[in-house]
């Protein structure tokens, strides 16, 4: 059977891994949100000739 100290060590490793993966996923979520905002704002600025409806503020 597994000794409690070993189990504790395994749980500690799992916790630190979960924390790092969580931080990375959170960071990616923020990044993708920021990228989406930038992409929505940037496309009309390239004076798209097509009938793309502009949704960005400050764009006539």
């Amino acid at each position: 059977m597994m000794q409690p100290p070993e189990l504790e060590q395994i749980r500690a490793r799992q916790r630190s891994r979960n924390l790092v993966v969580g931080l990375i996923l959170g960071g990616l979520a923020i990044l993708f949100y920021a990228v989406s905002i930038v992409k929505i704002a940037v496309i009309p600025a390239k004076e798209a000739p097509s009938a793309t409806s502009s949704q960005s503020p400050g764009q006539e």
Binding site: I10, R13, R17, V21, L31, V35, V38
Partner: protein, 305 residues
């Protein structure tokens, strides 16, 4: 019992981090950013950051795949025996999957956020390092470092293409500069750590062609590097600030390379010129690419014409 304990213990996240070769990454990130900043045009900081992240994660993925493939070789070399897989802290399959996932994710995100040309070059650079270099050429030819230098030469090219969306002569020149810089940089190191590579049967130039030939080749590449670094200035892709920096930096590089190239080391030699050339080569690349960026901003702000 102790074996079962090691196997049951999940790999520390720090070992996954170590698998990405963070130290090599600094040069990858720096030259990538320089390529991006030196390119004509501008990129939104958020997109620029994403492009850099993709280049870094792609490099991390190929580093992990490289260590998965070379675990048995790494185990036989003092410098690399403590890496996560040969030291038994990580299951090779985890390393392979980790590397493959990073490589795939970086290319996909690059394609969706930046563009598919940059993503295609990134994908090719990962394939180049993980397969053409690691699997195919490194165990076969003493020219492995010359060709492998191509893998390290991609970041500024990708950074540039992320901004401009097309390939012109300038980013190719940045690629060539790192390509020609790599052999003298690496062989200087190989001259003072050569025993390790001989033990695991990797055909490094000093082992195969001899130390004398390696020294001459270091000098040869340094001679080639000097005019090559001046080409961006000559064709008008960079200004005088860069031109003068390149001339001074490359001349010093040539001087140190000549000291290494034209001497013979006695047994028990401290290999000081080789260590100095290796240390200078890293400084050299940082300052040269930094000069390229400073030069562009000096031109943009009217400090030089």
């Amino acid at each position: 019992m102790s074996q079962a304990k090691t196997a049951a213990l999940p790999t520390d996240w720090r070992d996954f981090y170590a698998l990405t070769k963070p130290r090599v990454m600094t040069l990858v990130i720096f030259t990538g950013i320089c390529g991006m900043l030196a390119a004509p045009g501008s990129i939104h900081p958020v997109l620029g950051f994403t492009a850099m992240l993709c280049i870094a994660v792609g490099a991390a993925g190929s580093a992990a795949l490289n260590q998965w493939w070379e675990a048995d070789l790494d185990a036989g070399m003092k410098r690399t025996a403590q890496r996560p897989i040969p030291a038994g802290r990580m299951d090779p399959i985890s390393a392979r999957d980790f590397g493959g996932f990073l490589a795939g994710a970086s290319v996909l995100i690059m394609g969706l956020v930046i563009g598919w040309l940059a993503a295609a070059i990134l994908a090719f650079s990962i394939f180049y390092y993980a397969w053409i270099y690691t699997v195919w050429l490194k165990p076969r030819t003493p020219q492995n470092i010359v060709i492998g230098g191509g893998a390290g030469a991609f970041p500024p090219l990708i950074g540039w293409v992320a901004v401009t969306g097309d390939i012109t002569l300038m980013p190719i020149l940045l690629f060539l500069i790192i390509f020609v810089w790599t052999p003298p940089h690496f062989w200087a190191l190989a001259l003072f750590v050569q025993t390790d590579y001989a033990n695991v049967g990797i055909p490094m130039m000093p082992v195969v062609a001899g130390v004398k030939s390696t020294r001459h080749q270091i000098l040869g590449y340094a001679v080639l590097l000097l005019p090559l670094t001046l080409v961006p200035w000559y064709i008008g892709g960079a200004g005088n600030l860069y031109g003068i920096s390149a001339l001074v930096l490359s001349s010093i590089f040539l001087f140190y390379s000549a000291q290494v190239g034209l001497r013979n080391a006695e047994p028990g030699d401290k290999m000081k010129p080789e260590k100095r050339l290796f240390a200078y080569s890293i400084f050299y690349l940082f300052i040269l690419f930094g000069a390229l960026v400073v030069d562009r901003f000096a031109t943009l702000n009217g400090i030089q014409s």
